[in-house]
Amino acid sequence: MSEAAPTDETLVRETLAGDERSFATLVARHKGRVLGTCARFARDGQQLDDLGQEVFLRAWRKLRSFRGDAPFEHWLARLTVTACYDFLRRERRHREQVSLDDMVLEMRDASADATVAARRARELLAWAMRQLGAEDQLILTLLEIEERSVRDIASTTGWSESNVKVRAFRARARLKEILTRSHEA
């Protein structure tokens, strides 16, 4: 009979006792979800790899603070969101300005292929999102793209539920304004 896979909590205990292989197992188990979230914020493969590694490096450093009150996955999700937020703040300091002109023209072209149009839509959204502050980007990505609940976002960011709603409303208004200005330009 095959042995049952160790729980996350067991792997955490083993890692704290100095077993690196247990940490590797934890990374292997959760990398898909972590990288999936990070990919919503990173602009290329290199950034994705760096951001993903940063999340697990933080997890390794703070592993002693994991008390096991909530599942490890939730604890890691909070770390992921914090790391993504810090990444967005760093990125915003040296973000690049990209011309929108060609992109908007293609969006208006009704004959454009559906796949290309969807890609252009994503690029347009990514461009507009980069004009926003780190908090706005984070909240819209989690709420509108990752479709997480307000409660989930509140628990991962540490903000209150009403605060999340207000921030999301304001972020959406700012994004609309950016898109409107880009169309008018």
Binding site: E20, V27, A39, A128
Partner: protein, 106 residues
């Protein structure tokens, strides 16, 4: 009077953009390849650098300890300037060096 359709149309456009983003699942397979190995390499690198950082931080402590030990040795000789007493305090190991320093190597 007809209501202004602009705000609503902007919301619809924005929803369409979000829907396009939702419809696309980012491909993370390249980043996932050997990801654990890279993470563990960084963990080991950090462990090494934190050991070096600790050693560096402890340098003033060991320097102070060496000075205190030197002072203690000096005080044990009773403030004597007699080279023989100093040699006695240091033991045989330091005798030749001190003799060489005080009497010259001629």
């Amino acid at each position: 009077m007809k209501p202004d359709p602009q705000p609503n149309s902007h919301d619809t456009q924005l929803d369409a953009l979000f829907a396009a983003a939702r419809g696309h699942t980012p491909d993370t397979s390249r980043a996932e390849f050997a990801f654990e190995t890279r993470v563990l390499a960084r963990v080991r690198e950090e462990q090494r650098s934190s050991l070096l950082a600790w050693a560096w931080r402890l340098t003033p402590f060991f320097a102070a300890l060496a000075i205190l030990a030197g002072c203690w040795c000096y005080l044990q000789t009773g403030f004597s300037t007699d080279p023989e007493a100093l040699i006695g305090a240091l033991g045989d190991g330091g005798r030749s060096a001190i003799t060489w320093l005080t009497e010259g190597n001629s």
